[in-house]
Each structure stands twice: as structure tokens, then as C-alpha cells.
Symmetry: C2
Subunit: 252 residues, 2 copies
């Protein structure tokens, strides 16, 4: 049951020791990444492993200057990548048709399953991880920093290092808040209240509401953290990146 | 190192025993799913667990009639889901702005990290899994079969059951085929040839080329499995689904 324990004990780590990760351990973690299922075993993803201080500083600036990006020894950027596959097809006189949204999305799925394998493998070595949602917001800057060519789009980022904190486990909604049996059953107001009651009752939630000066937890998400205005702006910029990187030709 | 072994021993299972999965085991697997990181801990995903023979038959038809969908006792459909979150926001007088592409993509990331947790947890119990790439192709049909409401889009599917085969491990590209250090380094023809040489030299590859009557492996992908025409059609239909489900409003 070690595997299940590793998964259940996951917590996001935001404070890291400066200790470097041993190259043999990094290699095993990356190899574990490649064991994930990918569409047709095409492996249309790549992982950029950055440890150089200058590159990490540029990535830190792109990722909203979150300290852990500079602090953790490794920043792993996971990308949807049809570049390598397309070059191979061209060399083999095969007519690649992967310049469209479906191909981008397929490659995103590959990259994300690999990322989660890497996260779990890293945690099994006692390392801490943190996903950076800012990857999609700032994809354009990340492309420049990491020299990503056409047909490569950053999807998510993991910072990895030995933790210098062990935070409590984060709350999760009860299983019936995210699982449906057989078909989707839509929610009554009572059901929603019940699903969110534990989360809304937490002391940490009350503290958050006080700090953010909102009426409740939901308003922290809508007004402070993930506002409509930001979402619309980031939608536009990410769609533009997908197009610029060559994934929006939807004509034969 | 049990965790690493579980990850490394992953193989896609296409033949299943009819043995049902014990409810206590399923519960542990689903709970392991919920332990994945999600954006801002919003958990904007859902899992539809289908075991009913009629529903599985409908899903089987949607998933290109792949036998394992009927054979395996469980079909798990992972969806990007802002429906529950939006209802909660409305009940709390919070102005949700999640009707855009960024929100869809964010919710997709949540769904995929959860799916991979579920896959690994299932494998740690000796169960076999298979991802169904047909989920994005046939999203429209799956929405109807599973009664998915607005703001819910199917992203991937896992079939799960006790395996009745133990296939060989699938080949993977060498690590330098998918990993870059510091920044992306584009490939020379020689490098591509080297990266693909082991894969192209496999006996199974030679057999595949014979069966498919192509000149090489790359042409099996471009001409038989993932053709430009299919990709364009599925791009259009998936983008339409994303729009119909309420995720393409990119105006304030």
C-alpha cells in the first residue's frame, strides 16, 4: 500500500531546502514520467528541466514571482510537443496533419499524464512538488525563455525539491461532490450546501474570508483569485499562443 | 520503491476478466483520485463511474466499439466540470466568470491529473487500465449518454478491471528524446534517427508495417491511425462541444 500512501500523502510544498537533487534520482523520476500512457504511444510531449540560476530567475519572473520557483532546485516545464514527431514524419516522407486543435489537446493530455507520474515519483523519493497554474497564463513569456519552437506549447510546470516545511493535508470535497454513478446527476441547492459545508466551516476558510474582506469563500475565488477579467485575458493570450505555435489550422 | 515499481510496470490492458471490483477498493481508488493537485484546490472536475450494462454498451458504441469497454467492469469518464462550482458561486452571490477557454483548459488539467492518480491507484491494487483517446473525438455522444449538463466536457476515459492478459511493457523513446536540459534544443536529422532507431528496429514495428502496407512506422501514424482529415474533423467537433457546453465566451 506504499503507492496509495504516497498518493494520499500529497501536499503542495511552497518552501524548499537548497539541497540539490541527485542526478540518479532525477533520472529515475524522469523515466517514471515516460511510463505514462500517451496517445498511440506517440509521446507527443517534452519536459524542460531547468536548474540554471539565470533561467530560473526568468521563469520566476514569468510565474508571478512566486518565491518557490527560485528556491526549489528544479523547475520542470511540461509541454505539448508535436515538433519532434513532425520532424520524424518529414524525414520518413510521412504527411503529418498535426497542426490543429485536436492535436494540441491530445499532446496536452500526454504532457499532463506524464507530469502527474513525475509528481508521484518525486514524492516517493521524499521530494516536494508544486504545480504552477501560471504556466498557461504566461505561456508566451515561457516560450521565449525556454526557446520553444513551433508546435510546442507549455501546459504545466512543477517545481521540485526537498521540502523545508510539512504543511497539513489540504481539505478536499467529499467523494459525492466529485463522483457520479452511471450518469451525471445535477445538484439541488441543499446538495451543494452539504458538499461545501465542511470546506466552508474550516478555521482556515474563516481566516481567508477575514483577510480578503469578502462575504464568503466563493467570492474569494470569483473576485480575488480567478476573476472573469483575468480569465478572459488569459483565454485570449493562451488561444493566441496555441495559434502562433501552429495548432489552429482547422482546414484540410 | 513500490510506488516507482507500480509506475514503471504500467501496461495498457485490453483484455479483462469479468470479476467485479470490490466497492471498498473502488472507493479507495476514487479517494486517491481526489488527492491530486487541482487549480486553487477548486476541484473543477468530475468522475462518472459507469458499470450498468446498457450505459456501458452505449459508451462502447461511442468509443469506436472497442471490446474492452464492454468487457471491463468499470468505465470512468473524467470531465472538466465548472457546473458544480458555478452553482455554488450563484448560491453564495459570487459572480462566476468561468465561461471561457482558460477555465475549460484549467478544468481539463484538473481532470487529467486526477485521472492519472486513479490509474496508478488502480494498478497498485493489481487492476488493469486503458485510456480511451476516443473521448475527445466522440465528446458529443458521450455528453448525451451520460447526461452531462452545461459547463461539463468529457476529457478522457479509463476502463478498469482485473486483467486477463499481461502484455509486454511497451517501448518508450530514450530519455533524451523527450527531455531537454535548461532550454529546448531543436533536433538534427541524425538526432531524430538516433531517437527513433530502437523503436523502428523492433520486430513488432516490422510486423505493423507489413500489416498496414506502409513504407515505415511514421506513415502508419499519418496515413492510418491519426490522419489529417480525422484530426481536422475531430478538432471542429471538439471545439464545437467546448462552445456548446458554455466555455467559449471570451468577452467581458
Amino acid at each position: 500500500m506504499e503507492t496509495l500512501q504516497t498518493i494520499i500523502n500529497h501536499r503542495t510544498i511552497r518552501k524548499y531546502q537548497t539541497t540539490k537533487i541527485e542526478p540518479e534520482i532525477l533520472d529515475q523520476i524522469l523515466k517514471a514520467g515516460t511510463c505514462a500512457s500517451t496517445t498511440g504511444n506517440m509521446q507527443v510531449y517534452c519536459i524542460i528541466v531547468s536548474s540554471d540560476e539565470k533561467i530560473k530567475e526568468d521563469l520566476w519572473a514569468a510565474h508571478f514571482k512566486q518565491d518557490m520557483v527560485k528556491q526549489a532546485p528544479l523547475v520542470l516545464t511540461f509541454c505539448a510537443d508535436f515538433n519532434r514527431f513532425n520532424i520524424w514524419c518529414k524525414l520518413r516522407n510521412a504527411n503529418a496533419g498535426y497542426d490543429n486543435f485536436l492535436s494540441f489537446y491530445t499532446a496536452s493530455i500526454d504532457a499532463l499524464l506524464v507530469a502527474q507520474n513525475v509528481a508521484i515519483a518525486a514524492e516517493s523519493f521524499g521530494l516536494g512538488i508544486c504545480y504552477l497554474g501560471t504556466t498557461t497564463y504566461m505561456a508566451d513569456s515561457i516560450i521565449k525563455i525556454l526557446d520553444l519552437p513551433e508546435n510546442v506549447v507549455p501546459v504545466t510546470t512543477l517545481v521540485i525539491g526537498y521540502p523545508s516545511e510539512i504543511p497539513d493535508l489540504t481539505d478536499r470535497l467529499p467523494l459525492n461532490g466529485v463522483v457520479h454513478y452511471e450518469k451525471y446527476k445535477n445538484y439541488s441547492s441543499e446538495q451543494i450546501n452539504r458538499i461545501y459545508s465542511e470546506k466552508e466551516g474550516l478555521l482556515s476558510t474563516k481566516e481567508l474570508i477575514e483577510i480578503n474582506k469578502t462575504e464568503n469563500l466563493a467570492q474569494i475565488f470569483t473576485d480575488k483569485r480567478y476573476s472573469k477579467k483575468d480569465n478572459i485575458n488569459f483565454s485570449k493570450s493562451y488561444l493566441k499562443v496555441i495559434e502562433n505555435q501552429g495548432f489552429m489550422n482547422n482546414e484540410l
